[in-house]
């Protein structure tokens, strides 16, 4: 009888425990849903979320256009949003860059809900984060109040803007945290941000601005500038706005100079991390925000093999419509053969050495041509044919793009060629980094 009782009590305890666990589980689920109200709402009403957000916040978002003074034609179209009662609008630097480069030829306007154009003046820019603050003369009735946000991966976000000049549009997507290989943080947003939506806000369902639309890598991979960078710029704009649009280019110059000095930090100069290719030890990941990858080419119909190792970051800077730069990237390539004689191998090697695997695009108006110096250099008993090429930004004094290449010599059936590309750097830094890069190469017998 006691056993049956004990058994019954045990079953009861188990049942209690079981129900307790269910209750706990249920409440846990519930909490999750509460903290992401968008998803909770989604459980019951999927379609109307976007409608609600649109209804509440669309008035804060405006179309930005850059217009050519002489013809009145629209040169660039983007988006922006009000953030203060005094008419400050946030947008991207790349939306208004034409006016920064040619202040006499262009003017910037925002288009209000009725379709009327109103002039704005550019009062602060941040080239590195691709942000700009412009100010309208009107006082908006509605605007976003910016504040730091702390959200988790997977949160539902809404991006607003004017894609392809169609009309104000809302796009739903998901927050996916920060890009791993970037020093200057960008948020990964899984949603289709289209051209024209640049400068628009991406917000939570409650209207908290998480970031500013900046670019897209296609197929629902898009990027946002985090709101922290916007807050910093806004407070600086309120304290010290720029009043003369001709001074904006000088701000571009000084920001790029500061950026490259901080980027080319001691970490990079030390080049501690290395990779082994054949008998060579070569510089690899220069900092945590560098991403490196390798590949090998072993096609049978080719009479030689190549093994590549290359590193870069996801940081890049938009300087103007025809000029993008990204500070630092490099590639090592080991070439070997067991089928070509030495003369044929060196014909191949010369051709491969001539290649530069990535070119920094710039227009004739913005950059000079490259000038190169080529010599044979001895480093730790290995001889290298080295070339150092540099070109200057015409309107941004003190900023250069540099390409450094080296090819090892002395072996009849193998060679290592390496290319280092530096953009938007000072001349001193270009020389310093290239020299350090070359001297970081070593060779084992």
């Amino acid at each position: 009888m006691a056993i049956i009782l004990a058994g019954a009590i045990k079953i009861q305890e188990d049942l209690v425990r079981f129900f307790f666990r269910i209750a706990l589980l249920f409440s846990f689920f519930y909490l999750i849903f509460i903290t992401s109200p968008a998803s909770a709402a989604q459980q019951t009403q999927v379609a109307s979320d976007a409608q609600v957000v649109f209804g509440r916040f669309s008035n804060n978002v405006v179309k930005i256009q850059v217009v050519e003074n002489s013809s009145g034609a629209k040169a660039v179209i983007g988006s922006g949003f009000f953030v203060t009662a005094d008419g400050h609008i946030i947008t991207n630097y790349h939306v208004i860059s034409k006016q920064v480069h040619y202040p006499e030829r262009y003017r910037t306007e925002f288009v209000d809900a009725s379709g009327a154009s109103n002039p704005v003046s550019i009062i602060k820019i941040d080239v590195i984060n691709d942000l700009a603050i412009v100010q309208a003369k009107i006082k908006p009735a509605h605007y976003f109040k910016l504040a730091p946000v702390n959200i988790k991966q997977g949160v539902r976000l809404f991006s607003l803007g004017f894609p392809h000049d169609i009309g104000l549009t809302i796009v739903e997507g998901t927050y996916n945290g920060f890009l791993k290989y970037a020093l200057y943080k960008k948020i990964h947003f899984t949603g289709s941000i289209n051209p024209g939506m640049s400068g628009g806000p991406t917000i939570t369902a409650f209207g908290n601005v998480v970031g500013v639309n900046v670019s897209s890598a296609g197929e629902q991979v898009s990027f946002l500038v985090p709101v922290d960078a916007v807050l910093k710029l806004l407070s600086s704009a309120l304290k010290q706005p720029i009043t003369d649009s001709k001074k904006l280019l000088e701000a571009v110059r000084s920001q790029l100079l500061l950026y490259q000095d901080s980027y080319i930090s001691e970490n990079i100069i030390n080049m501690n991390d290395s990779v082994q290719l054949g008998r060579f030890r070569l510089p690899s990941k220069l900092a945590s925000y560098f991403n490196c990858w390798a590949d090998a080419n072993r096609k049978e119909k080719d009479l030689f093999h190549t093994v590549n190792h290359q590193c870069s970051t996801d940081d890049y800077i938009y300087v103007s419509s025809s000029h993008r730069s990204g500070v630092i990237r490099f590639r090592h390539r080991l070439i070997t053969t067991d089928k070509l004689n030495r003369f044929r191998f060196y014909s191949l090697y010369s051709n491969l050495f001539n290649e530069v695997y990535v070119s920094i695009h710039g227009s004739e108006e913005e950059v000079t041509k490259y000038k190169c110096e080529t010599k044979t250099v001895d480093v730790k008993n290995i001889s290298f044919k080295t070339t150092f090429c540099v070109r200057r930004y015409r309107k941004l004094e003190g900023l250069y793009d540099a390409i450094f290449k080296a090819a090892s010599l002395g072996e009849n059936n193998s060679g290592l060629e390496t290319t280092l590309v530096l953009s938007s750097v000072s001349f001193e830094n270009a020389v310093k980094v290239s020299k350090r890069y070359l001297e970081a190469i070593s060779w084992k017998e």
């Binding site: 920094i360 695009h361 490259y370 000038k371 250099v377 150092f388 540099v390």
Partner: protein, 325 residues
């Protein structure tokens, strides 16, 4: 004894355009068809001059009252009646005349200078020329092979070679036609061997300058050496073709060959300049990437420190070009 005088009508360079024999006197010179010597010059009168013998038996020339007159050339003066002496030139209208008599002296004949080059007998002999063609074709094939690095598919490779030899044949064919027109022989083998020998020398020269540029990493001197070398080889190439024929004198051949060769190089250099270091803008770097399989003791090297010291002059260069336009 018959008295004869020759009237020579001279061209602009003093050469004889026409020579008329006069043996009946008095003889007249003018534009009309009644004259002994008819001159086709609108500034000459229908009846302009009379040539006659005087009492002493000397020839005299007399102006018949022409509109534009009779001038003796040296010293230049207008005359109405003058005795003909050796080497005396006259001018009527726009025509220059000279009178010669049988007793005037002429220089003895000059000796023909033989060709002093030894290559040509070899090239002129058709058998030897063919031999040279085959040998240089082998070297040509070797050079092409050593400069390639793709898998050689034998059919394509032979096809490419045959295409090149076809081009040689066409080039030699054109020269042979010219040869035929001037000397009634084709000498095809000679021209063919010159074509292949010339191409091989130019390719070898380019390869050798590749070694020069690899060892010394030169800047301006490479361009000068390349251009000069190619002009010299090109003109030698054309000179050989011309000498087989042979066209014109040796010196003239050399001059023409050099001018044509320099002209072609000039156009080529101009095009390369525009594409390369010249005005055309590009986002690509242009540097001498030639690498050669030489052991380290051949190389002229510098230290890393001195290389990076030297690159500082590039800063001035790009800063200067940023300031232009």
């Amino acid at each position: 004894m018959e008295r004869v005088v020759y009237v020579e009508i001279l061209d602009k360079r003093g050469g004889v355009k026409e020579r008329i024999r006069l043996d009946a006197f008095p003889a007249t010179i003018g534009r009309a068809y009644t004259n002994s010597v008819i001159i086709d010059d609108k500034h000459v009168c229908p009846e302009h001059l009379r040539i006659n013998l005087d009492e002493k038996g000397n020839f005299i020339v007399e102006d018949l009252g022409s509109v534009n007159g009779l001038y003796q050339v040296n010293p230049y003066k207008r005359v109405s009646l003058v005795e003909i002496t050796p080497n005396l030139q006259f001018s009527i209208g726009s025509t220059v005349l000279q009178f010669r008599r049988p007793e005037d002296k002429v220089a003895p004949a000059e000796i023909v200078k033989p060709d002093r080059t030894y290559l040509f007998p070899l090239l002129k002999h058709q058998g030897a020329a063919l031999g040279i063609f085959f040998l240089s074709s082998l070297i040509f094939t070797l050079i092409i092979y050593l400069n390639s690095y793709a898998k050689i598919s034998s059919i394509l490779f032979i096809g490419d070679l045959l295409a090149v030899f076809f081009l040689f044949a066409v080039w030699a064919g054109v020269w042979s036609m010219v040869n035929r027109l001037l000397t009634h022989t084709f000498r095809f083998a000679s021209h063919l061997s010159i074509a292949s020998l010339g191409t091989v020398s130019i390719l070898s020269f380019i390869n050798i300058t590749g070694y020069y540029s690899f060892i010394f990493s030169p800047e301006l001197s490479l361009d000068i050496i390349m251009t000069a070398g190619l002009i010299i080889l090109g003109s030698l190439f054309l000179f050989c073709h011309l000498s087989i024929i042979p066209a014109a004198s040796q010196i003239r051949r050399l001059v023409y060959s050099t001018i044509v060769s320099a002209g072609i190089m000039g156009i080529f250099t101009f095009i390369v300049y525009i594409e390369g270091a010249g005005s055309k803008f590009s986002n690509e770097i242009k540097f001498n990437s030639t690498l050669k399989p030489l052991k380290n003791y051949w190389l002229i090297t510098s230290s890393s420190d001195s290389f990076f010291e030297n690159v500082r002059h590039l800063k001035e260069k790009v800063d200067a070009s940023a300031k232009e336009d």
